[in-house]
């Protein structure tokens, strides 16, 4: 307090706290005005994202199938984890404000550092997600229609590039719910569909001889493939399918073909990734800006600039951080949970 009351020399003699501008009646008035200004800025942020939400709404209303399809390529676990990270960092930010008002500046620094860690964690998870999308070629606009250089989703083609066979193999997979999960017990496996022609039984149930057929030869310990008659007709060369079976271990998450090879890909599937990158990208920029701001707050808290009498930047910075959280609360279900 003595520090705050120190008379400073700028041409007049009365004393007032360093933080208080001359044109304010008192700290509370200054704080309230700053807060209103911050909320007006946050309102413009909502309107900024509002434009993108309108684009999302119109695109999805016109083509719900694009969103249902594209959403499959997002990892709900990572998205949910990011939601939890952001919510928790919002809590630590709010706690920083509480501790600041009580003058416990060490606790403020700890809370701000935790919040900054949340921001960094969010961006790290976002990086993992973006990295995956970029490697798979799940990109906005025309970039979506380039064959990815390294993809886990790209179905193996033979030397002649038998796209038709790959597509047929995929249809077989999708139509027949082909993959048993990790279970080895036949009784725990789903019953084969009524029109299945070929059914390889698990090793545990049938012994090591596997299964042989004139058209298809599939030997595997745990992998079962049900093929409807309609599919058998389409598959003239089972090469891609065998190739596929060799490269995928049983119990793996059922394969999702690359959209470009997927005959069930809706027209203009790239629009999902366009709006996904636009909205999460703009949000990510806000997270980075928020992280820089929190770093700034940590620096000035350590320098002893804030006290119980003056912590306006922490409070208003907190408001900004919460609005970043608020936007993500809507983005998460709109992209990941379709």
């Amino acid at each position: 307090v003595a520090q705050l009351e120190a008379i400073h020399d700028h041409g007049h003699a009365h004393d007032h706290p360093d933080h208080l501008g001359h044109h304010w009646k008192d700290s509370k008035q200054q704080f309230e005005a700053g807060k209103l200004g911050m909320w007006l800025f946050l309102s413009t942020e909502i309107l900024l994202f509002g434009g993108l939400f309108v684009a999302y709404a119109v695109w999805r209303a016109n083509h719900p199938e694009i969103f249902a399809y594209g959403s499959q390529f997002l990892d709900t676990n990572l998205g949910g984890l990011n939601t939890a990270v952001l919510l928790t960092s919002s809590m630590t930010m709010a706690m920083a404000v509480t501790f600041a008002a009580r003058g416990k500046m060490t606790a403020v620094v700890i809370c701000l550092v935790l919040t900054l860690a949340g921001a960094a964690g969010f961006m790290a998870i976002k990086y993992i997600e973006y990295n995956h999308k970029i490697h798979e070629g799940l990109l906005p606009g025309m970039a979506f229609y380039q064959q990815p250089s390294a993809s886990h989703l790209w179905l193996p083609l033979d030397e002649l590039g038998h796209q038709q066979e790959a597509e047929a193999a995929l249809i077989a997979e999708q139509e027949s719910a082909a993959f048993a999960a990790t279970t080895k017990l036949e009784s725990e496996m789903p019953a084969p569909p009524a029109n299945a022609e070929i059914w390889t039984k698990p090793l545990a149930a049938t012994g090591p001889e596997g299964f042989t057929d004139s058209k298809l030869k599939i030997e595997t310990s745990e992998l079962r493939i049900f093929l409807p008659e309609s599919v058998i007709d389409k598959v003239e060369d089972a090469g891609p399918m065998l190739n596929f079976a060799e490269h995928h271990t049983p119990g793996e998450v059922p394969h999702l073909a690359h959209p470009l090879q997927d005959p069930l890909r809706p027209v203009n599937a790239q629009k999902f990734f366009t709006i996904y990158f636009m909205m999460t990208g703009l949000h990510g920029i806000h997270v980075i800006a928020g992280g820089i701001m929190i770093g700034w707050l940590i620096w000035h808290t350590l320098r002893g600039r804030f006290s119980a009498g003056y912590y306006t930047p922490i409070d208003l910075g907190g408001l900004y951080w919460h609005i970043v959280d608020v936007i993500w609360i809507f983005l998460f279900p709109l992209f990941y949970l379709i």
């Binding site: 307090v1 705050l4 004393d15 007032h16 706290p17 208080l20 008192d26 700290s27 309230e32 807060k35 209103l36 007006l40 309102s43 413009t44 909502i46 434009g51 309108v54 709404a57 209303a61 016109n62 949910g80 939890a84 919510l87 928790t88 919002s90 809590m91 709010a94 706690m95 509480t98 008002a101 009580r102 025309m142 229609y145 380039q146 064959q147 250089s149 390294a150 993809s151 179905l155 193996p156 590039g161 796209q163 490269h247 995928h248 470009l260 027209v267 203009n268 790239q270 009498g309 409070d315 907190g318 408001l319 919460h322 609005i323 609360i329 809507f330 998460f332 279900p333 949970l337 379709i338």
Partner: protein
């Protein structure tokens, strides 16, 4: 001139309330993930999943704004600016969707010309498979 306030300039939210609020928000996140996996088609309610997801998100935002962002203890005019911004976005979306529902979704159905050209080129001479497994 000496009537300076050196005490608290704002309501102080207890740490326990903040922690409890965060817990509620995390539970609501789990709820919304769970609801998204339910199949509402048997109830024959279109867009039920979307409606529930947005409702849960709205509740979460309400909680964040009221507790974390102090709106519960702030002057009502501050909450008013927030609500107005949200209403303007709803209005924007509402009018846009009204227009959308009155028009064909596609001007030209199917792939656009550059997309089709790209697809033809890609699968006419496919590169040897180099997928990583």
């Amino acid at each position: 001139m000496s009537n300076h306030e050196y005490g608290a300039v704002d309501h102080i939210v207890p740490v326990k309330l903040l922690a409890g609020t965060c817990l509620v928000l995390l539970v609501l996140t789990a709820v919304t993930v769970w609801v998204a996996q339910l199949d509402f088609n048997i109830l024959n309610i279109p867009s039920m999943n979307l409606g529930v997801a947005l409702a849960v998100a709205s509740v979460k935002v309400f909680i964040v704004a009221m507790i974390f962002m102090h709106l519960r203890w702030d002057r009502s005019f501050i909450g008013f600016t927030f609500v107005v911004a949200c209403l303007l976005v709803f209005l924007f979306i509402g009018f846009a969707l009204t227009d959308t529902s009155e028009n064909e979704p596609d001007i030209i159905p199917g792939n656009s010309e550059p997309v089709q050209r790209q697809l033809d080129e890609l699968f006419a001479n496919p590169a040897p498979s180099h997928g990583e497994h």
